[in-house]
Symmetry: C2
Subunit: 394 residues, 2 copies
């Protein structure tokens, strides 16, 4: 998991003792100079302390360091939680010798337990000392909760003959629904851009990636996506065309991260794209795709490798969109499984059974009511999802 060098940034991760199992749980990203920055955050009405702090600080459009911890969400922790978030930022600022207003924080883990800031303070000097240009992998490890693998993607782009780099790290696994469904995502780039340009690009890329995935239909209180731009590559976004070039590379990074999140969804064994087409509007297509992708009955059938298209149609039917089952087609990859109001029989079922054994496939629902489409990536729903979430806090 090598990353392309991203000029101006260093990262690191350590074990601060926030996780009971002794794994890495505190990550730090630092920029040589104050980077231009933008962020998008959870739409949940209940917002963790670090989200409230970041929303406030990101207004400056600048950020020089990000501290992120796992093992504790610092959410529903009252005024003490806000103080803990501020103190975490202050500790990082002190270790790095920068202004504390330029430090953003993020937390993920159990809700409602006090963040032990003393533990964070204890390791902060050594964490800052261990920052490395190629330290993003250890950073990505430090933000894992029930993730089984760190998620890190880097890409190079070219703008007016000048190369630039994007590095993105994310964590996911549970509480992931298509409603600003990041959990945590941190992107560094050495392109030059304004905070407004970064915000526009980040928002659009989040729409195309994290807002198109679902694991369990729950939206976290801590969802945070941040982007920092150092400008040190020499490539600079000067107008709409440049922005489109950057946008495309950024979306590629976030879509890859989003797919990694679904693949590594809690207990997930399969990555499934639910594609709805032939809808009268993109909104209609999205509603159906979301309902199918979040249906527990569809997701358990996928886990069981059962070609139970009836559940897909039933989920589509309760989405609120007026669809005619007699004009609806359901495909697994290229195999037509349902059309003209009936299943396509044993031969199709056999073909689909083989497709369902694969780790990745596409379910397409065509309602023949228009030209609009929408896709959502989802995973199956396994016995292990329940096991993981039944005793998450113990």
């Amino acid at each position: 998991m090598e990353t392309y060098p991203c000029k101006g940034f260093r990262a690191a991760g350590v074990a601060a003792g926030l996780k009971k199992n002794g794994h890495k749980d505190l990550g730090l990203i630092a920029s040589t100079t104050p980077a231009v920055a933008a962020g998008v955050f959870t739409q949940n009405r209940v917002q963790a302390a670090p989200v409230m702090l970041d929303r406030e600080r990101i207004r400056s459009g600048l950020c020089q360091a990000v501290v992120a911890n796992s093992g504790n969400a610092n959410c529903c922790t009252g005024e003490a939680g806000m103080q803990a978030a501020r103190e975490t930022a202050r500790l990082a600022a002190s270790a790095l010798g920068i202004s504390e207003d330029l430090v953003l924080v993020a937390s993920t883990g159990v809700i409602g337990q006090p963040l032990p800031v003393d533990k964070i303070g204890g390791v902060m000097p050594s964490l800052a000392a261990s920052l490395q240009p190629d330290g993003f992998k250890t950073f990505a490890e430090a933000i894992m909760t029930t993730d089984t693998v760190p998620k890190l993607i880097s890409r190079e782009g070219m703008l007016a003959g000048k190369p630039f780099t994007i590095v993105g790290a994310a964590k996911g696994a549970g509480m992931i629904a298509p409603n600003m469904a990041t959990l945590l995502c941190f992107v560094c780039t050495d392109i030059g851009a304004t905070a407004d340009q970064l915000h526009a690009c980040l928002s659009e890329s989040v729409q195309q990636s994290f807002n198109r995935i679902t694991v369990d239909g729950d939206t976290s209180t801590n969802d945070t996506a941040l982007i920092l731009a150092s400008g040190l590559s020499g490539a600079v976004i000067r107008g709409a065309d440049d922005q489109a070039v950057f946008q495309k590379v950024l979306s590629g990074v976030l879509i890859d991260l989003a797919k990694l999140l679904v693949k590594d969804g809690e207990g997930a064994t399969k990555l499934v794209e639910v594609c709805v087409k032939g809808a009268a509007s993109e909104g209609d297509a999205r509603k159906i795709a979301d309902t199918v992708a979040n249906s527990n009955l569809v997701k358990t059938a996928i886990f069981g490798e059962d070609a139970n298209w009836g559940r897909i149609l039933a989920a589509a039917g309760r989405s609120g969109v007026a669809l005619d089952p007699n004009r609806t087609d359901i495909f697994f990859n290229d195999v037509l499984m349902f059309s003209e109001g009936s299943g396509r029989g044993a031969a199709a079922e056999d073909e689909v059974s083989r497709i369902l054994k694969r780790p990745e496939f596409v379910i397409t629902v065509d309602i023949h009511d228009g030209d609009c489409r929408s896709s959502v990536w989802t995973c199956d729903f396994s016995v292990d999802y329940v096991r993981i979430n039944a005793d998450y806090r113990s």
Copy 2:
């Protein structure tokens, strides 16, 4: 599971071979005379053939027999499915010597497979011959799918000095969401009433019962609730006061049946009432209650007997209702677990841990924003739910 005698009705159930395991799978209810009848049906856009047939026939306001099968939903079966539904009704009418227009049908089970009408025809004469006034228990057994126990409730009421009886049988287990979430429910009463009165009472009682429960958030294509009134008790609904008396007894029957459905939800080990109060409108209260009651993360935590109130608050926060977490209280039974933005600490957690070990308890969310409230009954989400639904068709 004795039922009060309900004048004019007989019922029975047999094994017709629709279920692979040889259990009872075909039930019949017959009335001595054409009964006054009303029904409410699934709001899913995809509707099974028996639902389409019943919607048409119930317009007459009369019904003399109901045939219900398990093991096959007769849904997404095209024109052949409609023919199979009509043929099932014809077979019952022939065996009973009544008009086929007065026979309603209902099916539950796997979607998309042809209903083997020949098997139904083979046992119909012996099924009709086995009808008994106390045959509702065998009827209730015949409509079970993944239910582990038959659901049957009967109550007596008194109107102007005259007693009347209501007997209700239902099946549930999965695909149960608070949106006309019956699956199948059949109610017989010997009160005298018009079809309009019956429809008004049934609709209101369904609102108070089946529309207040959730197992997995999925809405079936086959949901059907029917009520038949023979009028043979001598008690007759003559005005609004009488209707209110009947309504109350009917709601009692359906609420008891609804709770039995949730208790026996697929893989369920606990029956939990989610009560939201202090909302600005009943709609707001309902939205929050539904979101909490359907959250996989809340339901798996309940299965794990984990007092993870953070997930309850997070679910409330994404319900779309503007709530202030700092003014929100969360109780488990009478124990306050969260208030003023923070958890109430270890002592409360210990008390709640004991409550979570019980088979039934109440989660109350008070958002202190008004005087409205709403309750939903839900169950926990267990490893067995996934097991049951992963290989439902095999």
